[in-house]
Subunit: 206 residues, 2 copies
DNA sequence: TAACATATGTTAGTTACGCTAACATTCTAG
DNA sequence: CTAGAATGTTAGCGTAACTAACATATGTTA
């Protein structure tokens, strides 16, 4: 991908600079952490001057936002794919979604942190994290199916969905921040998600 | 606290600069987020030149580390206090610890993120996040007591403790990052912790 | 096709910050 | 009292974010 940038650079106009910058930022953020990347370095990767990005992004934060935005699409695809590998409404289906959530965080730790850690006052007022909603809807649908199938008595879908979210979100964060290493090195997060989720669902339904 | 700094500044030597800088950094980090604080601004708050911190801290990161280190002590105090308000080994005791964990994160969001989000290669090799261990021990002890009291059949304490940790850690992160706002605004995290934890323990033991 | 408007790039310069070096002041032992 | 350690200061370097003024490409219209 750096090759594509270099080979384009006989022209004065880059042509695909916006995409190239998002790509470069993505690489750098994954390499040096969410805050440890510089706009200048992304410019070097893309082969343009440090002023060029401002034709496409308001500021450094806007580029970071663009990288984060991509993530929600990926996360949704992966959780939907996991869900569909098992019978609708089954515990296995929900467990698979949880594993996929954690696996996504493990594969894209920096993007994951950006997606969920965006500073709220950076966001346009009133529609904070709007991209997350369709993602969450995937979980809500799966939980609804499970409630129906299992016959569990719950007042609201959220009473099941939110705890499930906290379990996988917490697992994801503890994993990518290496916080398991100090107290439980070598933790198998797939197994962890499986047992946590299954136990919770059992406790809710029984 | 800014007053104390100002009133000291007739002297050439500050005298309490290390503490004053940690204090200033703590304020600024809470105000502008973990990465949005500058050493220079902390110096202004403490009333010293921008070179002064280097007599007490190796670099900017070391000051941030110092702020984070404080946090583990506070977290331990708060979870222990919560635990001791209920009978040893009771579900209530564990729930109270969970609520205290989330409350701490809500009160000190930036410190919380620093504590658990420290970059591993910044840490001295081999003893990463060592300060977290006694904190985790509080949970382990409580879980052991619960296992004994409830007669639940579990192979390892960790099989209970880690899921509990993920639940409260995930809740804490989703809360302080305002991720509930988009999909479940006004979420009562105390109630959420209560229900998640209780359901999980029920599912494990039954 | 010529000419203008717009989009997209460049260079140069400002400001802020992290950090270092060299120097100044204070504290503390002997 | 005095030497040296501790703890400040000022000056300056390098880098990054951002802006302004200018240059080049693109595309629309007469």
């Amino acid at each position: 991908m750096a090759k594509a940038a270099a080979e384009k650079r006989e022209r004065y106009h880059h042509g695909q600079l916006r995409e190239a910058l998002i790509d470069a930022a993505h690489q750098l953020i994954n390499a040096h952490g969410p805050e440890g990347f510089s706009l200048a370095e992304a410019c070097r990767l893309a082969g343009v001057s440090t002023a060029a990005p401002y034709r496409h992004f308001a500021d450094r934060g806007a580029l970071v936002e663009a990288v984060a935005s991509e993530g929600f699409g990926w996360l949704r695809e992966r959780t939907e794919a996991a869900r569909d590998q098992h019978r609708l409404g089954s515990v296995e289906s929900i467990v698979a979604m949880g594993k996929a959530y954690v696996a996504f965080a493990a594969d894209e730790p920096a993007v994951f942190k950006l997606m969920f850690g965006r500073h709220p006052d950076v966001q346009p007022e009133g529609e904070a994290h709007i991209e997350g909603t369709p993602c969450f809807q995937v979980l809500l649908d799966a939980v609804d199916a499970w409630i129906e199938r299992s016959g569990a008595e719950v007042d609201h879908t959220l009473d099941v969905a939110l705890p499930l979210w906290t379990i996988v979100h917490g697992t994801a964060y503890l994993l990518i921040d290496h916080d398991f290493d100090a107290v439980a090195p070598g933790t198998d997060t797939d197994r962890l998600v499986e047992r946590s989720t299954a136990a919770f669902l059992k406790g809710i339904s029984g």
